[in-house]
Symmetry: C2
Subunit: 392 residues, 2 copies
DNA sequence: CGGGATTAGTTGTATGAATGAACTTATGCG
DNA sequence: CGCATAAGTTCATTCATACAACTAATCCCG
């Protein structure tokens, strides 16, 4: 059954969440009266709900601002700092790290280690990550309550079993990630991390970064060009993960020529096509392209045309006209944008009526770590009543 | 704002819809007590809601069945026949027609005309359809209240403007369909039809046909092989249309070799590849394949491999492992299934953990017409309170 | 054939959440 | 200093659901 019986309490839960999200989505800290206005709830109702949220640490009151007009000054409501925190962790091909966010979006702690993890040993890597996790827990202290941890991985993840089924670029297969991490970290042992795909979490962070002033919910295809190529769909502000969370695997799309997209437009292929050392990192390519060297710009343009063709299929299939370039592709965007756009314009059937757009990611560095923390905080926002019930 | 304030009335609306859908989804006609059991609502609440639904013609009571066990016999609740009806109309490349369904799923009226509409004149065609619409309205008489009409079209439809933007296989562009139909039909003039894509509506009918006894909500990719190739996504029983309803356009996917899927696996290409007359219809191909003639089976197999590759991209992108073959492909399924499945198995990254399935459509003949009617009836089921308010 | 058991559905009271109006609080302005 | 204005609180009212007791209709068993 999708739907379930709505009882009296459901009303309250719904409105509690509505009030909370209204405050957090607002550009400037709103008063109770503002919230009543935008939600349509009565002032009395909003007051009661806000009081519960403040008591539970999900909202905070600021000191009344210096009043500008007549009338009793409003009490501004904001996301509380340091009451609730969540951890986003990540293991990727050339780094691993943790980041801790609170509800106000502040980074309470962060630690990243750069190292080459191709063909690495899951146990050893997760032991390193476990240490970072415990350090993070110690660093933030006991004051902020930890909501949970999400671990971002560049592959196919089995959320229910807590197993990384396949991560080609790490060389991991059927890795019992949650168990290994719990063995190395008391934090992970107490509250087992949720697993998710790296591109999915990056897209979630991007969706949060793009949420406009009026609470608009953006729709876009996020393309994460790391060593591998992942994509994720955001529809009306919600991440679309599919049945198992495996949506967005475009790296293995077979493109004209018979190779996969990753073999044509992945970072290694890109560097090789430009005549550069594939292990030398992206900087050389960016520099060369900046100097307008033909071998570099032509390699990027070819990759862009192929990427654009693959994305055109995506756009035709899911009817989303916005593309966001993330990861490697964000840095290459100045040269990548045009070929991608032009491929979209020719191959997207609906392009005359919904012009394709290609943007650069705004979510900052290592967005999957942010997205992982946001995913955990989002669980609380989705059902604050449930959270308050657990928190006396 | 996605969410809106929940007031007292929202509760009632929600539960009213819940009760209605619970009755309609049930395998055998349930009693009020059964509904209370499955929904978790109190008997008294269910009784009150059912009474309202019966009074509004959205549910009907049957005569108590011969009691089998002790206790007061139950009053079985069923979908009412002939109180509410909706029209599904369709213009496709080689036929047009209308079908009228009531809430019980009975076909109250149906009329189909087969004719070649490639490069046809929208005005003339819609005038024919308008006549069929008015005949349908006359045929069912005044007793069933008409909920509305959906018109299925094989192309890109602008729902808001009521315009068919592009239908390559009809040769229509920017056709002002709703206006033209209203000019030819008093029924359409009174209540303007909703426009939708043919594959989307066929998928909707398929979703309804696949809804299991326990109200399971199937997820699948519906592939409609007509003259063109359309696809539609059904996720958890809900049609996924995308922002404008333009999702599912896979016919113009560029496949290895550089041509589009339609140019390789469309009906015309298929017939030509088998050495048959493209205008001669599908029967010749089915006959030849049935006789195991190599030119026919090989043509189908090649198309199947290409279709499978395109579908693998879809499955990788949206993480849905079920494929349903509809339209032309349903008839060719005996020869098409294996090559499609084998392409899926090799190209779907997650196939070891979520085995691809390829099924044949079960929604019957001309499913888009059924789906169009269901779309209109679905509006009432989604918000019965709204409908009851309009119906004194 | 009659009374107890059993199940369906109804009636009436209680509960809880939102509402709206009146009220209190806190400020600016003349 | 008093009035206008706006934020927030208090309280009686409304309304949908829950719960419990009740009526209705049937079977079963002695």
């Amino acid at each position: 059954m999708r739907a379930t019986a709505a009882r009296q309490g459901s009303l309250r839960e719904h409105n509690l969440g509505l009030v909370l999200r209204t405050v957090l989505d607002a550009e400037v800290a709103p008063s109770r009266a503002d919230v009543a206005g935008t939600t349509g709830l009565a002032k009395a109702t909003v007051s009661a709900l806000v009081d519960r949220l403040v008591a539970g640490g999900l909202l905070a009151e600021l000191a009344p601002a210096a009043p500008l007009r007549a009338g009793r000054p409003a009490v501004p409501l904001v996301a509380p700092a340091g009451t609730l925190a969540a951890v986003g962790a990540e293991v990727n091909v050339d780094y691993l790290g943790v980041r801790v966010l609170d509800l106000s979006g502040r980074v309470l702690h962060e630690r990243v280690r750069h190292l080459d993890l191709r063909e690495s040993e899951p146990g050893a890597v997760l032991s390193m990550l476990g240490t970072l996790l415990d350090e993070a827990a110690a660093a933030i202290g006991p004051a902020p309550r930890l909501v949970g941890t999400t671990l971002a991985l560049p592959g196919l993840v089995d959320r229910d079993a807590g197993i990384l089924r396949l991560a080609p670029n790490l060389g991991w297969r059927e890795a019992d990630v949650v168990r290994l991490l719990a063995a190395a970290s008391s934090t992970a042992a107490t509250s087992p991390p949720a697993l998710a795909n790296e591109a999915d979490l990056a897209a979630r962070a991007e969706a949060a970064a793009r949420r406009g002033p009026a609470g608009e919910r953006p729709s876009f295809v996020y393309v994460s060009g790391e060593i591998g190529i992942g994509a994720a769909l955001v529809l009306d502000g919600e991440l679309f993960g599919g049945r198992h969370g495996w949506a967005g695997e475009i790296g293995h799309t077979v493109v004209p020529g018979g190779r996969t997209l990753e073999q044509v437009a992945g970072q290694d292929a890109l560097l090789r096509a430009a005549g550069l050392d594939p292990d030398g990192g992206l900087d050389a390519l960016v520099d060369a392209a900046g100097r307008r060297e033909a071998h570099a710009t032509e390699a990027i343009e070819l990759a862009g045309r192929t990427l654009g063709l693959a994305l055109a299929n995506v756009v035709n299939l899911v009817d989303v006209s916005g593309i966001v370039l993330g990861g490697t592709y964000a840095r290459l965007a100045p040269w990548l944008r045009e070929p991608v756009l032009s491929a979209l314009r020719t191959h997207v059937l609906a392009s005359p009526w919904a012009a394709p757009q290609v943007d650069v990611a705004r979510a900052g560095e290592l967005p999957a770590m942010t997205g992982g923390a946001l995913a955990q905080l989002g669980r609380v926002l989705a059902d604050p009543a449930d959270w308050l019930a657990e928190t006396p």
